[in-house]
């Protein structure tokens, strides 16, 4: 309405200054035409503007996806030294999907989910080994992570393309609007995966590994042993206490099964554990400082929830307290090469963990310290 009022004001003004010249008549007609066009086609024009915006982002997503695919194929060729061209296998891998278990009857759904995730992991590793036969275990893990990032980019591109084409086909403002509104967040995520892909391809530590790095710093120099799938534990004496420090086995890219690891350590000690301290990277809110260290209670672990369930179940069984120390970062920093701010805050988190152990336990106690996160580029 404001636009129309403005147009009418301009038209009146022009009528006053232009007198009865031909130009005034032309401008009058022009204003009426614009007025009518906006009344009937205003929404459609708005829709085309939105579609154009989605289209530009789709070009960018396509570029990112193609670059991801190219990087993955190049890395496999460079590291895995395959006999044949792995392009077809990579393309097939990018289309893999996982069907989550039926939860109409939720009892036992965690174990079903765990089984499906195990099958998926085994399948992925087998595929990577067949694509890159010359790679060792660390490289297989890194390549698997690289392929997963490329697969995520492929999926994001396909979903946005779906809504774009659907919107174009149906000319439904609401289909186009919903995708246009979430587009900035989707683009942020896609850019994060693009830098994650590079980090995985080179084996660089990522922001998500902050928790694993805290544990690595604690256990470095002490003998470690494998405790669960892709997880190691070291027994570290600290201030008269015995700390069982757990992390995923590095430097290959994996998160291990910290739920199983914590369960095994508790069972080995017959539940005689004073407290569990978990360290993980946590998503920060806008306005919070990158690398801010915060402390709380509960199982600090993300993912599909299987490990969190197992940890909580075991802690309830033996009435063990649980503390959490988190390092704040946004989703982009969590999956891209570790930033200096996060790296520096690892020492602060380490001090906080030591403080929690001293304050919450007494000499002679046994504690579990679990560093959670992807341990790519982090040894022990």
């Amino acid at each position: 309405m404001t636009i129309i009022a403005a147009l009418m004001a301009v038209q009146t003004k022009l009528g006053q200054i232009g007198g009865s010249s031909d130009l005034t008549w032309i401008l009058n007609i022009l204003f009426y035409v614009i007025f009518i066009v906006f009344i009937f086609y205003g929404q459609r024009i708005q829709m085309y503007v939105m579609l154009r915006e989605v289209e530009v982002s789709l070009y960018k997503l396509k570029f990112i996806k193609e670059e991801g695919r190219k990087t993955t194929i190049e890395t496999i060729k460079e590291i895995g030294k395959p006999q044949a061209d792995p392009t077809d296998k990579v393309d097939r891998f990018l289309e893999y999907f996982t069907i989550s278990p039926q939860s109409l009857d939720p009892a036992g759904v965690v174990w079903k989910l765990e089984h499906i995730l195990d099958v998926r992991d085994t399948r992925f590793k087998d595929e990577v080994k067949s694509m890159a036969p010359a790679s060792d275990e660390t490289q297989v893990n890194n390549l698997e992570n690289t392929l997963e990032a490329a697969s995520a980019l492929n999926f994001i591109y396909k979903v946005i393309r779906h809504y774009y084409l659907l919107g174009k086909k149906t000319l439904s403002l609401y289909v186009i609007m919903q995708i246009q509104m979430i587009l900035p967040l989707v683009m942020r995520e896609a850019e994060a995966y693009a830098s994650a892909l590079k980090a995985f391809a080179y084996g660089q530590p990522i922001g998500d590994g902050a928790g694993a790095l805290v544990a690595a710093k604690l256990m470095h120099g002490y003998e470690n042993r494998k405790i669960a799938k892709d997880c190691v534990v070291a027994t570290v004496p600290y201030e008269g206490r015995t700390a069982f420090v757990i992390k995923a086995e590095g430097p290959g890219g994996n998160v291990g099964k910290p739920g199983d690891a914590i369960k095994v350590v508790i069972e080995e000690n017959e539940g005689n554990i004073a407290t569990v301290v978990m360290i993980d990277a946590a998503l920060k809110l806008e306005g919070e400082e990158l690398g801010e260290v915060a402390e709380g209670v509960g199982a600090a672990i993300g993912g599909p929830g299987v490990d969190q369930y197992k940890i909580e179940d075991e802690l309830v069984k033996y009435h063990i307290s649980i503390n959490a120390v988190v390092i704040k970062e946004d989703v982009g920093d969590a999956v891209s090469p570790m930033r200096k701010e996060v790296f520096d805050s690892v020492d602060k988190a380490l001090e906080r963990v030591k403080q929690v152990v001293v304050e919450r336990t007494k000499e002679g106690d046994k504690v579990i310290i679990a560093g959670i996160g992807n341990t790519i580029g982090i040894g022990q």
Binding site: G18, S21, S336
Partner: protein, 140 residues
């Protein structure tokens, strides 16, 4: 990273609209000049000329902006990979060196002898440094 052909495509419809607007704006400017200089002998009223002049300038500004914006969006189509540094330290004498990350580096990897004391050097850190843009001056 390079741009491939499919992604660097600019919509031909947008280009057409931009060039039509540009052409109309130029015509408007020519007419404006003619009216203002009295070429059409329309008498002393030159207001229409000034209106056309304003429309012409506005048209040229908008079409130039759209062209620049389209080019700017295309130049954004690249994945920026910030440099990642590896910190290597000697635990005995404290010598610290920083070099660019090399494939195969990982934290707590032994990395050859120290040039000062001959003890084994250890990779103690791998990180990237990002130069932050000036922060939003929000009081929150």
């Amino acid at each position: 990273m390079s741009q491939n052909g499919t992604t660097s495509k600019i919509s031909s419809f947008v280009i057409l609209v931009v060039f039509v607007t540009l052409a109309l704006s130029l015509v408007a400017l020519i007419f404006a000049a003619a009216i203002v200089t009295g070429f059409f002998n329309t008498g002393s009223d030159v207001t229409g000329g000034y209106v056309l002049l304003a429309l012409g300038v506005l048209g040229i500004a908008i079409s130039t902006y759209v062209l620049i914006e389209t080019r700017r969006r295309l130049s954004k189509l690249k994945i920026v990979v910030p440099p990642v540094n590896t910190i290597i330290e000697c635990r005995k004498c404290g010598t610290k060196t920083v070099r660019e990350f090399q494939r195969g580096d990982y934290i707590f990897k032994e990395d050859g002898p120290c040039q000062k004391c001959g003890d084994t050097m250890l990779i103690t850190g791998i990180y990237r440094e990002v130069k932050e843009k000036e922060k939003d001056k929000s009081q929150f």
